[in-house]
Protein backbone atom coordinates (compact mmCIF):
# COMPACT_ATOMS: atom_id res chain seq x y z
CA UNK A 1 0.00 0.00 0.00
CA UNK A 2 1.13 3.55 -0.50
CA UNK A 3 1.90 5.92 2.33
CA UNK A 4 -1.61 7.34 2.95
CA UNK A 5 -3.08 3.86 3.28
CA UNK A 6 -0.25 2.83 5.57
CA UNK A 7 -0.76 5.80 7.81
CA UNK A 8 -4.44 5.09 7.88
CA UNK A 9 -4.00 1.45 8.89
CA UNK A 10 -1.12 2.40 11.16
CA UNK A 11 1.03 -0.53 10.02
CA UNK A 12 3.99 -0.66 7.66
CA UNK A 13 4.50 -4.21 6.46
CA UNK A 14 8.21 -4.80 6.20
CA UNK A 15 9.71 -8.01 4.97
CA UNK A 16 13.24 -9.16 5.81
CA UNK A 17 15.30 -12.28 5.33
CA UNK A 18 16.88 -14.65 7.81
CA UNK A 19 19.73 -16.03 5.82
CA UNK A 20 21.79 -13.22 4.28
CA UNK A 21 24.56 -11.98 6.53
CA UNK A 22 25.48 -9.27 7.29
CA UNK A 23 22.18 -7.68 6.23
CA UNK A 24 19.79 -10.12 7.83
CA UNK A 25 20.47 -13.20 9.86
CA UNK A 26 19.29 -14.92 13.00
CA UNK A 27 21.20 -15.02 16.25
CA UNK A 28 19.71 -17.28 18.91
CA UNK A 29 16.35 -17.18 17.23
CA UNK A 30 16.27 -13.33 16.97
CA UNK A 31 16.78 -11.21 13.85
CA UNK A 32 20.15 -9.53 13.71
CA UNK A 33 22.33 -7.59 11.27
CA UNK A 34 22.60 -4.26 9.47
CA UNK A 35 18.92 -4.09 8.63
CA UNK A 36 17.86 -4.85 12.19
CA UNK A 37 19.73 -1.75 13.32
CA UNK A 38 18.20 0.21 10.45
CA UNK A 39 14.73 -0.88 11.53
CA UNK A 40 15.47 0.39 15.04
CA UNK A 41 16.31 3.75 13.48
CA UNK A 42 13.17 3.68 11.33
CA UNK A 43 11.05 3.18 14.44
CA UNK A 44 12.67 6.21 15.99
CA UNK A 45 12.22 8.17 12.76
CA UNK A 46 8.45 7.91 12.55
CA UNK A 47 5.55 7.46 14.94
CA UNK A 48 2.83 7.65 12.34
CA UNK A 49 2.68 3.89 11.99
CA UNK A 50 3.91 0.70 13.57
CA UNK A 51 6.32 -1.59 11.81
CA UNK A 52 5.30 -5.18 11.30
CA UNK A 53 8.26 -7.28 10.35
CA UNK A 54 7.88 -10.60 8.49
CA UNK A 55 10.78 -12.88 7.80
CA UNK A 56 10.73 -14.65 4.44
CA UNK A 57 13.20 -16.77 2.57
CA UNK A 58 14.70 -15.11 -0.46
CA UNK A 59 12.63 -17.27 -2.78
CA UNK A 60 9.53 -15.33 -3.65
CA UNK A 61 10.43 -12.39 -1.48
CA UNK A 62 10.60 -9.89 -4.32
CA UNK A 63 7.50 -11.34 -5.91
CA UNK A 64 5.71 -10.81 -2.62
CA UNK A 65 6.76 -7.16 -2.59
CA UNK A 66 6.01 -6.53 -6.24
CA UNK A 67 2.52 -7.96 -5.78
CA UNK A 68 1.99 -5.62 -2.83
CA UNK A 69 1.83 -8.30 -0.19
CA UNK A 70 4.47 -6.34 1.71
CA UNK A 71 5.16 -2.65 1.54
CA UNK A 72 8.92 -2.76 1.41
CA UNK A 73 11.74 -5.27 1.63
CA UNK A 74 14.39 -4.10 4.10
CA UNK A 75 16.94 -6.60 2.82
CA UNK A 76 20.22 -6.73 0.99
CA UNK A 77 18.52 -6.74 -2.39
CA UNK A 78 20.55 -5.69 -5.41
CA UNK A 79 19.26 -3.64 -8.29
CA UNK A 80 18.89 -5.39 -11.66
CA UNK A 81 17.26 -4.59 -14.98
CA UNK A 82 14.54 -7.19 -14.55
CA UNK A 83 13.71 -6.02 -11.05
CA UNK A 84 13.37 -2.45 -12.15
CA UNK A 85 10.55 -3.51 -14.44
CA UNK A 86 8.44 -4.41 -11.44
CA UNK A 87 9.91 -2.46 -8.54
CA UNK A 88 11.31 0.91 -7.58
CA UNK A 89 14.37 1.13 -5.38
CA UNK A 90 15.01 3.57 -2.52
CA UNK A 91 18.32 5.46 -2.62
CA UNK A 92 21.10 2.84 -2.19
CA UNK A 93 22.61 2.05 1.22
CA UNK A 94 25.69 0.27 0.00
CA UNK A 95 27.62 -0.30 -3.12
CA UNK A 96 27.66 -3.84 -4.43
CA UNK A 97 30.21 -5.01 -6.85
CA UNK A 98 30.17 -8.77 -7.32
CA UNK A 99 33.21 -10.70 -6.09
CA UNK A 100 34.06 -14.33 -6.07
CA UNK A 101 34.89 -16.30 -2.96
CA UNK A 102 37.06 -19.42 -3.08
CA UNK A 103 38.30 -21.90 -0.54
CA UNK A 104 41.24 -20.60 1.46
CA UNK A 105 44.33 -22.31 0.12
CA UNK A 106 42.86 -23.27 -3.24
CA UNK A 107 45.86 -22.41 -5.36
CA UNK A 108 44.25 -23.28 -8.64
CA UNK A 109 42.40 -19.97 -8.59
CA UNK A 110 44.58 -16.88 -8.61
CA UNK A 111 42.59 -14.50 -10.78
CA UNK A 112 39.36 -14.22 -12.69
CA UNK A 113 40.89 -16.01 -15.68
CA UNK A 114 41.36 -19.16 -13.58
CA UNK A 115 37.61 -19.38 -13.01
CA UNK A 116 37.18 -20.76 -16.50
CA UNK A 117 35.40 -24.10 -16.44
CA UNK A 118 35.17 -24.19 -12.64
CA UNK A 119 31.94 -24.96 -10.78
CA UNK A 120 30.12 -21.88 -9.52
CA UNK A 121 27.43 -21.44 -6.89
CA UNK A 122 24.94 -18.54 -6.85
CA UNK A 123 21.51 -17.94 -5.44
CA UNK A 124 18.58 -18.84 -7.66
CA UNK A 125 16.82 -15.85 -9.21
CA UNK A 126 19.43 -13.48 -7.77
CA UNK A 127 21.00 -10.33 -9.13
CA UNK A 128 24.31 -12.11 -9.14
CA UNK A 129 22.89 -14.66 -11.48
CA UNK A 130 21.54 -11.85 -13.63
CA UNK A 131 24.95 -10.25 -13.90
CA UNK A 132 26.84 -13.42 -14.81
CA UNK A 133 27.00 -12.33 -18.48
CA UNK A 134 29.55 -9.74 -17.39
CA UNK A 135 31.77 -12.54 -16.07
CA UNK A 136 31.26 -14.46 -19.29
CA UNK A 137 32.60 -11.46 -21.19
CA UNK A 138 35.60 -11.19 -18.87
CA UNK A 139 36.40 -14.88 -19.27
CA UNK A 140 36.02 -14.71 -23.02
CA UNK A 141 38.75 -12.07 -23.15
CA UNK A 142 41.27 -14.65 -21.92
CA UNK A 143 39.74 -17.44 -23.98
CA UNK A 144 37.95 -19.04 -21.05
CA UNK A 145 34.32 -19.86 -20.48
CA UNK A 146 31.88 -20.24 -17.65
CA UNK A 147 31.76 -23.66 -15.96
CA UNK A 148 28.81 -25.39 -14.35
CA UNK A 149 26.44 -23.09 -12.44
CA UNK A 150 24.62 -24.47 -9.40
CA UNK A 151 21.66 -22.47 -8.10
CA UNK A 152 20.93 -22.37 -4.37
CA UNK A 153 17.89 -21.30 -2.39
CA UNK A 154 20.15 -19.27 -0.09
CA UNK A 155 23.81 -18.42 0.34
CA UNK A 156 24.73 -20.33 3.50
CA UNK A 157 24.05 -23.55 1.62
CA UNK A 158 26.25 -22.39 -1.23
CA UNK A 159 29.04 -21.52 1.19
CA UNK A 160 28.62 -24.88 2.86
CA UNK A 161 29.07 -26.57 -0.49
CA UNK A 162 32.08 -24.40 -1.28
CA UNK A 163 33.60 -25.38 2.05
CA UNK A 164 33.06 -29.07 1.47
CA UNK A 165 34.40 -28.93 -2.06
CA UNK A 166 31.29 -29.38 -4.16
CA UNK A 167 31.85 -25.89 -5.58
CA UNK A 168 35.01 -24.15 -6.69
CA UNK A 169 33.79 -20.61 -6.14
CA UNK A 170 30.76 -18.62 -5.12
CA UNK A 171 29.81 -15.19 -6.42
CA UNK A 172 28.24 -12.68 -4.07
CA UNK A 173 28.10 -8.97 -3.44
CA UNK A 174 31.22 -7.53 -1.89
CA UNK A 175 29.69 -6.88 1.49
CA UNK A 176 28.59 -10.44 1.96
CA UNK A 177 31.92 -11.66 0.68
CA UNK A 178 33.74 -9.51 3.22
CA UNK A 179 31.48 -10.79 5.94
CA UNK A 180 31.91 -14.46 5.28
CA UNK A 181 35.65 -14.16 4.79
CA UNK A 182 35.97 -12.21 8.02
CA UNK A 183 33.98 -14.80 9.98
CA UNK A 184 35.74 -17.83 8.54
CA UNK A 185 39.19 -16.73 7.39
CA UNK A 186 40.61 -20.27 7.37
CA UNK A 187 37.83 -21.58 5.22
CA UNK A 188 37.17 -18.88 2.64
CA UNK A 189 39.24 -16.37 0.73
CA UNK A 190 38.05 -13.32 -1.12
CA UNK A 191 38.77 -13.14 -4.86
CA UNK A 192 38.46 -10.38 -7.40
CA UNK A 193 35.57 -8.41 -8.81
CA UNK A 194 33.53 -10.19 -11.48
CA UNK A 195 31.14 -7.39 -12.41
CA UNK A 196 30.80 -3.65 -12.68
CA UNK A 197 29.27 -1.50 -9.99
CA UNK A 198 26.04 -2.34 -8.30
CA UNK A 199 23.85 -1.07 -5.51
CA UNK A 200 22.15 -2.49 -2.48
CA UNK A 201 18.78 -0.84 -2.06
CA UNK A 202 15.29 -1.48 -0.72
CA UNK A 203 12.64 -2.41 -3.26
CA UNK A 204 9.19 -0.79 -3.11
CA UNK A 205 6.23 -1.58 -5.37
CA UNK A 206 5.90 0.69 -8.39
CA UNK A 207 2.49 1.65 -7.08
CA UNK A 208 3.87 3.32 -3.95
CA UNK A 209 5.60 6.56 -5.05
CA UNK A 210 4.79 8.35 -1.79
CA UNK A 211 6.26 5.56 0.30
CA UNK A 212 9.34 5.67 -1.93
CA UNK A 213 9.75 9.36 -1.24
CA UNK A 214 9.20 8.83 2.48
CA UNK A 215 11.88 6.11 2.67
CA UNK A 216 14.23 8.25 0.62
CA UNK A 217 13.77 10.90 3.27
CA UNK A 218 14.65 8.34 5.89
CA UNK A 219 17.85 7.32 4.09
CA UNK A 220 18.79 10.94 3.70
CA UNK A 221 18.14 11.38 7.44
CA UNK A 222 20.51 8.47 8.16
CA UNK A 223 23.17 10.00 5.93
CA UNK A 224 22.77 13.45 7.44
CA UNK A 225 22.97 12.25 11.01
CA UNK A 226 26.04 10.13 10.25
CA UNK A 227 24.18 7.04 11.43
CA UNK A 228 24.52 5.36 8.06
CA UNK A 229 28.27 5.67 8.08
CA UNK A 230 28.38 4.29 11.61
CA UNK A 231 26.29 1.27 10.66
CA UNK A 232 28.23 0.72 7.44
CA UNK A 233 31.45 0.62 9.41
CA UNK A 234 29.91 -1.63 12.05
CA UNK A 235 28.50 -4.21 9.66
CA UNK A 236 30.38 -3.87 6.36
CA UNK A 237 33.75 -2.90 7.69
CA UNK A 238 33.90 0.08 5.32
CA UNK A 239 31.92 3.21 4.50
CA UNK A 240 30.49 3.98 1.05
CA UNK A 241 30.61 7.72 0.52
CA UNK A 242 29.67 8.35 -3.09
CA UNK A 243 26.31 6.58 -3.28
CA UNK A 244 23.52 8.13 -5.37
CA UNK A 245 21.14 10.24 -3.32
CA UNK A 246 18.01 9.71 -5.37
CA UNK A 247 15.78 6.67 -5.77
CA UNK A 248 16.35 4.47 -8.81
CA UNK A 249 13.20 3.76 -10.77
CA UNK A 250 14.23 2.88 -14.31
CA UNK A 251 16.85 0.94 -16.22
CA UNK A 252 18.47 3.93 -17.94
CA UNK A 253 19.06 5.66 -14.66
CA UNK A 254 20.52 2.50 -13.17
CA UNK A 255 22.87 1.94 -16.11
CA UNK A 256 24.01 5.53 -15.97
CA UNK A 257 24.70 5.40 -12.23
CA UNK A 258 26.38 2.01 -12.36
CA UNK A 259 28.37 2.87 -15.43
CA UNK A 260 27.18 -0.12 -17.40
Amino acid sequence: ADLPAIEKSGVLKVVTEDNYAPFNFITNGKPDGFNKDVLVELKKYTHKFKIKQSILPWTGLLAAVSSGQYDVAITGALITDDRLKALNFVAPLASAQDFYVKRAGDNRIKSVADLSGKTLGVQAGSALLARLPELVVMLAKTGGKLGKVVQYQSYPEAYADLANGRLDYVINAVISVNDVVKKHPNIFAKGQAVSGHGFVAWPVPKSSPKLLAFLDGFVKHLKDTGKLKELQLKWFGQAFDNLPDQPITNVEEFHRLAGI
Binding site: F25, G29, I55, L56, P57, G60, A64, S67, Q153, A160
Partner: protein, 213 residues
Protein backbone atom coordinates in the same frame (compact mmCIF):
# COMPACT_ATOMS: atom_id res chain seq x y z
CA UNK B 1 24.70 -29.19 19.46
CA UNK B 2 24.04 -27.12 22.54
CA UNK B 3 20.92 -26.67 24.60
CA UNK B 4 20.01 -23.61 22.59
CA UNK B 5 19.90 -25.62 19.39
CA UNK B 6 17.59 -28.13 21.01
CA UNK B 7 15.28 -25.36 22.17
CA UNK B 8 15.19 -24.01 18.61
CA UNK B 9 14.41 -27.51 17.33
CA UNK B 10 11.56 -27.89 19.79
CA UNK B 11 10.15 -24.52 18.81
CA UNK B 12 10.30 -25.66 15.21
CA UNK B 13 8.56 -28.89 16.17
CA UNK B 14 5.79 -26.89 17.80
CA UNK B 15 5.33 -24.85 14.63
CA UNK B 16 5.18 -28.03 12.56
CA UNK B 17 2.67 -29.51 14.96
CA UNK B 18 0.23 -26.66 15.23
CA UNK B 19 0.24 -25.89 11.54
CA UNK B 20 -0.24 -29.55 10.68
CA UNK B 21 -2.88 -29.87 13.36
CA UNK B 22 -4.98 -27.05 11.98
CA UNK B 23 -4.52 -28.37 8.45
CA UNK B 24 -5.63 -31.83 9.58
CA UNK B 25 -8.79 -30.51 11.20
CA UNK B 26 -9.68 -28.52 8.11
CA UNK B 27 -8.65 -31.29 5.75
CA UNK B 28 -10.60 -34.04 7.49
CA UNK B 29 -13.82 -32.03 7.63
CA UNK B 30 -13.43 -30.66 4.11
CA UNK B 31 -12.76 -34.20 2.92
CA UNK B 32 -16.00 -35.38 4.49
CA UNK B 33 -17.88 -32.51 2.92
CA UNK B 34 -16.42 -33.25 -0.50
CA UNK B 35 -17.26 -36.93 -0.16
CA UNK B 36 -20.85 -36.11 0.79
CA UNK B 37 -21.20 -33.68 -2.08
CA UNK B 38 -19.81 -36.23 -4.49
CA UNK B 39 -22.50 -38.66 -3.35
CA UNK B 40 -25.05 -36.31 -4.86
CA UNK B 41 -23.31 -36.39 -8.24
CA UNK B 42 -24.23 -32.80 -9.13
CA UNK B 43 -23.20 -32.42 -12.78
CA UNK B 44 -20.58 -29.67 -13.03
CA UNK B 45 -19.48 -29.77 -9.41
CA UNK B 46 -18.77 -33.48 -9.72
CA UNK B 47 -16.40 -32.93 -12.64
CA UNK B 48 -14.69 -30.06 -10.86
CA UNK B 49 -14.14 -32.15 -7.76
CA UNK B 50 -12.79 -35.03 -9.82
CA UNK B 51 -10.39 -32.64 -11.50
CA UNK B 52 -9.36 -31.20 -8.15
CA UNK B 53 -8.61 -34.61 -6.71
CA UNK B 54 -6.72 -35.71 -9.78
CA UNK B 55 -4.65 -32.52 -9.81
CA UNK B 56 -3.82 -32.56 -6.14
CA UNK B 57 -2.92 -36.22 -6.30
CA UNK B 58 0.03 -35.49 -8.54
CA UNK B 59 0.98 -31.97 -7.47
CA UNK B 60 3.87 -31.96 -5.01
CA UNK B 61 3.19 -30.11 -1.79
CA UNK B 62 6.17 -27.87 -2.24
CA UNK B 63 4.88 -26.77 -5.63
CA UNK B 64 1.45 -26.18 -4.19
CA UNK B 65 2.84 -24.13 -1.30
CA UNK B 66 4.87 -21.92 -3.62
CA UNK B 67 1.96 -21.59 -5.99
CA UNK B 68 -0.47 -20.46 -3.32
CA UNK B 69 1.93 -18.20 -1.52
CA UNK B 70 3.37 -16.47 -4.55
CA UNK B 71 0.51 -16.34 -6.99
CA UNK B 72 -2.64 -15.65 -4.99
CA UNK B 73 -1.52 -12.08 -4.25
CA UNK B 74 -1.51 -11.54 -8.00
CA UNK B 75 -5.24 -12.19 -7.84
CA UNK B 76 -5.57 -9.67 -5.05
CA UNK B 77 -5.79 -12.25 -2.29
CA UNK B 78 -3.29 -11.46 0.42
CA UNK B 79 -2.20 -14.49 2.32
CA UNK B 80 -0.20 -14.48 5.48
CA UNK B 81 2.47 -17.14 5.06
CA UNK B 82 1.16 -19.32 7.88
CA UNK B 83 -2.29 -19.20 6.33
CA UNK B 84 -0.80 -20.12 2.98
CA UNK B 85 0.98 -23.04 4.59
CA UNK B 86 -2.11 -24.30 6.38
CA UNK B 87 -4.18 -23.86 3.26
CA UNK B 88 -1.85 -25.80 1.02
CA UNK B 89 -1.49 -28.65 3.51
CA UNK B 90 -5.26 -28.73 3.91
CA UNK B 91 -5.96 -28.62 0.18
CA UNK B 92 -3.59 -31.49 -0.31
CA UNK B 93 -4.81 -33.67 2.53
CA UNK B 94 -8.50 -32.96 1.91
CA UNK B 95 -8.26 -34.63 -1.49
CA UNK B 96 -6.94 -37.82 0.06
CA UNK B 97 -9.32 -37.68 3.00
CA UNK B 98 -12.23 -37.23 0.60
CA UNK B 99 -11.32 -40.52 -1.06
CA UNK B 100 -11.13 -42.23 2.32
CA UNK B 101 -14.53 -40.94 3.37
CA UNK B 102 -15.97 -41.76 -0.01
CA UNK B 103 -14.99 -45.39 0.17
CA UNK B 104 -16.43 -45.56 3.70
CA UNK B 105 -19.71 -44.17 2.40
CA UNK B 106 -19.75 -46.43 -0.62
CA UNK B 107 -19.06 -49.55 1.39
CA UNK B 108 -21.66 -48.72 3.98
CA UNK B 109 -24.17 -51.53 4.19
CA UNK B 110 -27.52 -50.88 2.57
CA UNK B 111 -29.11 -53.27 5.05
CA UNK B 112 -28.32 -51.00 7.95
CA UNK B 113 -29.97 -48.14 6.13
CA UNK B 114 -33.13 -50.19 5.71
CA UNK B 115 -33.09 -51.27 9.32
CA UNK B 116 -32.88 -47.62 10.34
CA UNK B 117 -35.69 -46.60 8.02
CA UNK B 118 -37.90 -49.36 9.32
CA UNK B 119 -37.68 -48.16 12.91
CA UNK B 120 -38.75 -44.75 11.66
CA UNK B 121 -35.42 -42.94 11.71
CA UNK B 122 -35.16 -39.85 9.57
CA UNK B 123 -32.21 -39.55 7.21
CA UNK B 124 -30.48 -37.12 9.50
CA UNK B 125 -30.85 -39.28 12.63
CA UNK B 126 -29.63 -42.25 10.63
CA UNK B 127 -26.62 -40.35 9.36
CA UNK B 128 -25.75 -38.80 12.68
CA UNK B 129 -26.20 -41.81 14.96
CA UNK B 130 -25.75 -44.87 12.76
CA UNK B 131 -23.71 -44.06 9.70
CA UNK B 132 -21.30 -41.36 10.85
CA UNK B 133 -20.00 -43.18 13.93
CA UNK B 134 -19.27 -46.24 11.82
CA UNK B 135 -17.73 -44.21 9.04
CA UNK B 136 -15.44 -42.60 11.56
CA UNK B 137 -14.41 -45.93 13.03
CA UNK B 138 -13.75 -47.43 9.63
CA UNK B 139 -11.99 -44.37 8.25
CA UNK B 140 -9.91 -43.55 11.27
CA UNK B 141 -7.00 -45.87 10.49
CA UNK B 142 -6.54 -44.58 6.93
CA UNK B 143 -7.15 -41.02 8.13
CA UNK B 144 -4.44 -41.33 10.74
CA UNK B 145 -2.20 -42.83 8.09
CA UNK B 146 -2.86 -39.80 5.91
CA UNK B 147 -2.03 -37.60 8.89
CA UNK B 148 1.41 -39.12 9.12
CA UNK B 149 1.85 -38.48 5.40
CA UNK B 150 0.91 -34.88 6.03
CA UNK B 151 3.51 -34.54 8.77
CA UNK B 152 6.10 -36.14 6.52
CA UNK B 153 5.19 -33.70 3.74
CA UNK B 154 5.07 -30.67 6.01
CA UNK B 155 8.74 -29.67 5.50
CA UNK B 156 7.50 -28.23 2.21
CA UNK B 157 6.19 -25.20 4.09
CA UNK B 158 9.74 -24.26 5.03
CA UNK B 159 10.26 -22.95 1.53
CA UNK B 160 8.03 -19.96 2.16
CA UNK B 161 9.91 -19.11 5.28
CA UNK B 162 7.96 -20.79 8.01
CA UNK B 163 10.41 -21.78 10.67
CA UNK B 164 9.26 -25.33 11.09
CA UNK B 165 11.30 -28.23 12.33
CA UNK B 166 13.09 -28.53 8.98
CA UNK B 167 13.97 -24.89 8.52
CA UNK B 168 15.36 -24.66 12.02
CA UNK B 169 18.14 -26.98 10.91
CA UNK B 170 19.19 -24.42 8.28
CA UNK B 171 19.19 -21.68 10.85
CA UNK B 172 21.38 -23.65 13.19
CA UNK B 173 23.78 -24.81 10.53
CA UNK B 174 23.99 -21.39 8.88
CA UNK B 175 25.90 -20.36 11.98
CA UNK B 176 27.82 -23.54 12.77
CA UNK B 177 28.49 -24.95 9.28
CA UNK B 178 27.82 -28.33 10.88
CA UNK B 179 24.47 -29.42 9.47
CA UNK B 180 24.69 -33.10 10.38
CA UNK B 181 23.64 -32.85 14.03
CA UNK B 182 20.66 -30.54 13.64
CA UNK B 183 19.42 -32.72 10.77
CA UNK B 184 19.72 -35.82 12.90
CA UNK B 185 18.02 -34.03 15.78
CA UNK B 186 15.15 -32.91 13.57
CA UNK B 187 14.89 -36.42 12.12
CA UNK B 188 14.61 -37.84 15.61
CA UNK B 189 11.79 -35.48 16.55
CA UNK B 190 9.94 -36.27 13.32
CA UNK B 191 10.31 -39.96 14.04
CA UNK B 192 8.78 -39.51 17.46
CA UNK B 193 5.82 -37.53 16.11
CA UNK B 194 5.09 -39.90 13.26
CA UNK B 195 5.80 -42.87 15.50
CA UNK B 196 3.02 -41.76 17.82
CA UNK B 197 0.66 -41.51 14.86
CA UNK B 198 1.60 -44.99 13.69
CA UNK B 199 0.80 -46.33 17.15
CA UNK B 200 -2.49 -44.46 17.06
CA UNK B 201 -3.30 -46.01 13.73
CA UNK B 202 -2.68 -49.44 15.16
CA UNK B 203 -5.06 -48.76 18.05
CA UNK B 204 -7.69 -47.39 15.66
CA UNK B 205 -7.40 -50.51 13.52
CA UNK B 206 -8.13 -52.69 16.53
CA UNK B 207 -11.18 -50.59 17.37
CA UNK B 208 -12.45 -50.70 13.80
CA UNK B 209 -12.16 -54.46 13.83
CA UNK B 210 -15.20 -54.58 16.08
CA UNK B 211 -17.32 -53.44 13.16
CA UNK B 212 -16.28 -56.30 10.92
CA UNK B 213 -19.51 -58.20 10.58
Amino acid sequence: MDLNAWILLLEGAWTTLWISGVAIIIGVSAGLLIALIRQKKIPIIEQLLTLYISLVRSTPLITLVLFLFLSLPALGIHLEKHIAAILSLAINTAAFNAEIWRSAIRNFSKDQHEAAMSVGMTHWVFFRHIMLPQMIAVSLPPLVNEMSFLIKGSPAIAIIGIVDLTRVTNRISAVTYQPLYPILGAGLIYMIIVGVLVKLQYVAEKKAHRLAM
